[in-house]
């Protein structure tokens, strides 16, 4: 890997993007003024796509030129992908900032008319990127909000509890209702509890289905059908019913998480436990293996790749389940409750902060399942 190649890609994409962003911003302002918001958003989107494709064509051309020029060695594929991903991420951020101008500008103009002053272009941009309750906050505002509600909130609580015993101070900081970390933890614990139960029950049912023809015939069609219906719609009712019988807090959310991760695991495990072909099963039979031996030594190991694929889907579904559960009942907090709170007060920054933390949580969960998958598969000899 050549560093100069990397630099080339990065510099070209950044320069092009910044210039295209400036052009886009000007064009958007020119398009704005008065008129229906939807039309302007559409116009901005069309413009964004045009600029985007122009920049892209240029970049691809220059990249091809670079690749084919005989002076340098061919760039390796990893580097190529890295620059490509970087480029797309930069485009997304550029569009994000551009849309922040479009969506927040009405409020900025409102303030200007009421205050009786004219807005210059730079003032408008500065205003749209730093509003208190923007329609679309910029990435740096969201990052600031996340920091404020985690690090700063913890530091403040730490100062306020001055004089308490050390351990108590820590627990107070961790239990602070204003701290996003606590909300993330609540969501995570419900997700994990539900995920573990859902996966366990799913595997048990799959084992039953594979070993019992009657069960296979009667239960499996319902499991498959359940994939096509919006089971998430059951969430509010489950919460209310469990509350009525005296269960509240973590358990109802975990129940929703569990049944969302349950079905993908059943389907994947049934496929996995059936994956050994008849040759392998015949081999086991020639060794006079019992049913239990076939299960432990052949079927279960063979199902591992399928299990991990469904676990990745299941853990993402569990998180969605926990969040939607929190949206229905929000007394004790959680990321979903934060979103609902933000929704009530029109505090978009709170919603976005919760959303980004939820996304980060999903990424961490899915990638740790992916890591476990890679390690397990390597140890079991699926990949070299």
């Amino acid at each position: 890997m050549d560093v100069s190649q990397l630099l080339f890609g990065v510099i070209v994409s950044t320069v092009l993007l910044i210039s295209s962003l400036i052009i886009a911003a000007f064009a958007v302002l020119w398009l704005s003024g008065t008129g229906y918001l939807g039309v302007k958003v559409l116009a901005a989107a069309v413009l964004g796509v045009l600029i985007f494709s122009g920049v892209n064509a240029f970049l691809v051309k220059s990249w091809t030129w670079w690749k084919e020029s005989k002076i340098r060695p061919l760039p390796d594929k990893k580097l190529f992908s890295f620059v490509a991903i970087l480029y797309v991420v930069t485009v997304i951020f550029a569009l994000w900032y551009a849309f922040a101008i479009v969506l927040n500008k009405n409020w900025a103009y409102d303030k200007a008319t009421r205050g009786g002053y004219e807005l210059s272009f730079s003032e408008l941009v500065a205003d749209t990127w730093s509003q208190k309750k923007p329609r679309l906050p910029t990435p740096d505002q969201v990052a600031g909000e996340i920091w404020k509600s985690t690090g700063t909130a913890a530091a403040k609580k730490w100062e306020r509890t001055e004089g308490d015993p050390f351990l108590e101070r820590i627990s107070e900081v961790l239990g602070d209702k204003r701290n996003l970390i606590r909300h993330a933890w609540l969501t995570l614990s419900a997700t994990m509890l539900g995920f573990v139960f859902g996966t366990g029950l799913g595997i048990l049912l799959a084992v039953g289905i594979v070993h019992n023809r009657a069960m296979d015939n009667s239960v499996m069609p319902w499991v498959i059908t359940s994939q096509t219906i919006p089971i998430l719609a059951l969430a509010p009712m489950i919460i209310v019913v469990l509350n009525a019988v005296g269960l509240s807090g973590l358990i109802p959310k975990a129940v929703i998480s569990a049944y969302l991760s349950f079905f993908p695991v059943v389907v994947g495990m049934v496929k996995g436990l059936r994956s050994p072909d008849s040759m392998q099963l015949d081999q086991m039979r020639t060794w006079f293996a019992s049913k239990a031996q076939i299960f432990w030594k052949l079927r279960l190991p063979a199902s591992v790749p399928y299990l991990f694929t469904s676990l990745k889907i299941g853990v993402a579904a569990s998180l969605v389940g926990a969040i939607v559960g929190e949206l229905t009942i929000s007394q004790d907090g959680g990321l979903g409750a934060r979103m609902l709170q933000g929704n009530y007060y029109g505090a978009t920054l709170i919603i976005w902060a919760a959303l980004i933390v939820a996304a980060a949580l999903a990424a961490v969960l899915v990638s740790s399942v992916g890591l476990a998958e890679r390690v397990t598969k390597k140890r079991m000899g699926f990949v070299q």
């Binding site: 991903i85 009667s218 239960v219 919006p230 509010p236 969605v320 939607v324 979103m339 609902l340 990424a363």
Partner: protein
């Protein structure tokens, strides 16, 4: 007590029937019949146990109450169905599919973009996108437009990824053959690559059909006019009108399965040549 005993008897009869069926000569009818028997057994047991064990019908209404609620409030259910499914889901589904498909065609022309967008698309597909719902409700208002918007962003990436992968599905030999025919980009797209991509695209469409209904219903939890399936479910649960909620869930389940079934049927007609469709 007798009712609970009756429930156990029903269970034993249903299970016995299914075991008897599973020992018959295998055939297509077997699974269908035993699935139906299993479903009916569960419903009868639900009815008998709720009535026999004194569970309050407010918490878990027996099926007869749900059927009753279904019959007495068909007009409400129909209005909700039109608001959520006809307006929100179908509009969003059409817009999202079109947008994702066109984006996929555009991305497919550049190897650079494909490399950049596919990992990001895969990443986004695992995120809890449904959390965008409150923001979109703020942007597009309470009516069905915001629900359609939620549907669009929920189904965009699954369809995009599947279409881009599908457009790569034609093998090198086939592409070379098109080149020897001096086929233009569009000719080889329509005659070779799109048909080869069809199984992938339909896979995306099927995933999207389920996601679309979920997106529209959950988005209605955040704010909607006083009609809609999600609205009815969340307020009905709050008011403990659980028979109506269950009726609404039955409607959602039937609509979801039917939607999926229709997409699957179109797939069967359109990709009859694919190995997975052969009988």
């Amino acid at each position: 007590m007798t009712l609970i005993l009756a429930a156990l008897v029903v269970w034993a009869i249903g299970w016995g029937l299914n075991i008897w069926i599973s020992h018959q000569k295998p055939g297509r009818w077997q699974s269908i019949v035993s699935a139906i028997i299993f479903g009916i057994t569960l419903v009868i047991m639900w009815e008998l146990i709720v009535r026999g064990s004194g569970i309050s019908p407010v918490i878990l209404p027996p099926p007869s109450m749900i059927i009753n609620a279904f019959a007495t409030s068909t007009d409400i259910l129909a209005a909700d169905f039109i608001q959520t499914f006809m307006k929100g889901v179908l509009t969003g589904y059409a817009m999202g599919c079109a947008a994702a498909f066109l984006t996929a065609l555009a991305i497919d022309r550049s190897d650079f973009l494909k490399r950049g967008l596919l990992p990001i698309g895969n990443f986004v597909a695992a995120l809890p996108i449904i959390g965008m719902a409150p923001i979109l409700v703020m942007w597009f208002g309470f009516d069905w437009h915001s629900k359609a918007a939620v549907v669009v962003i929920m189904i965009f990436f699954p369809i995009l990824i599947n279409t881009v992968q599908g457009l790569d599905a034609a093998d090198k030999m086939q592409k070379d053959l098109m080149r020897t025919y001096a086929a233009s980009y569009w000719q080889s797209l329509f005659k070779l690559r799109l048909p080869a991509a069809a199984p992938f695209i339909f896979n995306g469409l099927k995933i999207a059909s389920t996601l679309a209904l979920i997106g529209a219903i959950v988005a209605e939890f955040f704010g909607s006019p006083i009609v809609g399936m999600g609205f009815r479910i969340s307020t009905g649960a709050g008011r403990l009108e659980l028979d109506l909620v269950w009726a609404e869930i039955v409607v959602a389940a039937v609509a979801g399965s039917a939607f999926y079934g229709i997409v699957a049927l179109i797939e069967r007609k359109a990709t009859f040549w694919h190995p997975s469709q052969r009988k």
